[in-house]
Amino acid sequence: MKRMESRLRTFLTGLLIVISFAGCKPLIALYDASAYSQAVSIKVDLLNLLDKAATTEFTAANADISMVTIEIQKAMEYSKGKDLNSLSTSQYEILLSGSHSYKFFLQLWEKEKKLSKGASTEYKETFGMIMDKIIQLENGKNKEKK
């Protein structure tokens, strides 16, 4: 009887250890403060760029456009380099894609030379929300236990 209880105790302890290790593999990357900071910085610079689209001709805004686009590219590369981070990477890929709205906005700005004030305001609203989704995802990831 005592031997059986001892074996049961050993079994339960072993089961605990197996469960602990089996449960460790995550489904998504942990929160990354650098990634969060990048997303916030892009949001601010992108909104400023959208403001400029109504007041500045496209050719005069090339430096600002390049800065924002490169910021997004850097954020995407940073995201791609992390394991279990494909959803965040996909979000940046949408921003940089030639068939999505950011590139369309740039082409529109070039075509019209300046956007209407109404368009600038509306784009700020929607792109603000788009960046908020990226920030929300990063902020919603689990924090590393200390």
């Binding site: 209880e5 049961l8 105790r9 339960l12 302890t13 089961l15 605990l16 469960i19 602990s20 449960g23 995550p26 489904l27 998504i28 959803l87 965040s88 996909s90 979000q91 949408i94 999505h100 709205s101 950011y102 369309f104 906005f105 529109l108 075509k111 019209e112 956007l115 209407s116 004030k117 109404g118 368009a119 509306e122 784009y123 609203e125 929607t126 792109f127 929300m129 788009i130 989704k133 990226i134 929300q136 995802l137 919603g140 990831k141 689990n142």
Partner: protein, 108 residues
Amino acid sequence: MSIDIQTIISTIEGKVVDYAKTNLTELATNAVSDAQGLFATIKSNLVRRTQMLAEGQLTKDEFAGLLLADADLVQMDALTQAGLALAKIDAFKQGIFQVIIDSVTSMI
């Protein structure tokens, strides 16, 4: 010291069910609420921008570009919700294992 395996299993079962009810209900509620909020935003955007187009405050190309931006917003939201769900599942798994570990260690 005797170990009542049946009691351990019953205790764990009860705690796991309580933990699951609390955490999974919250996940489902938040997802529904977010989807409703986004739908309301898209609808309101469309109404307002159609009016702006009619009044000449937007060109046709600008209107089209904004529609595309809203489509991207929906896609972004789907990715965010998927990621938040995965993070919740990870946290939930850790929580369940902790419930089991705490229950068993308190009884060994």
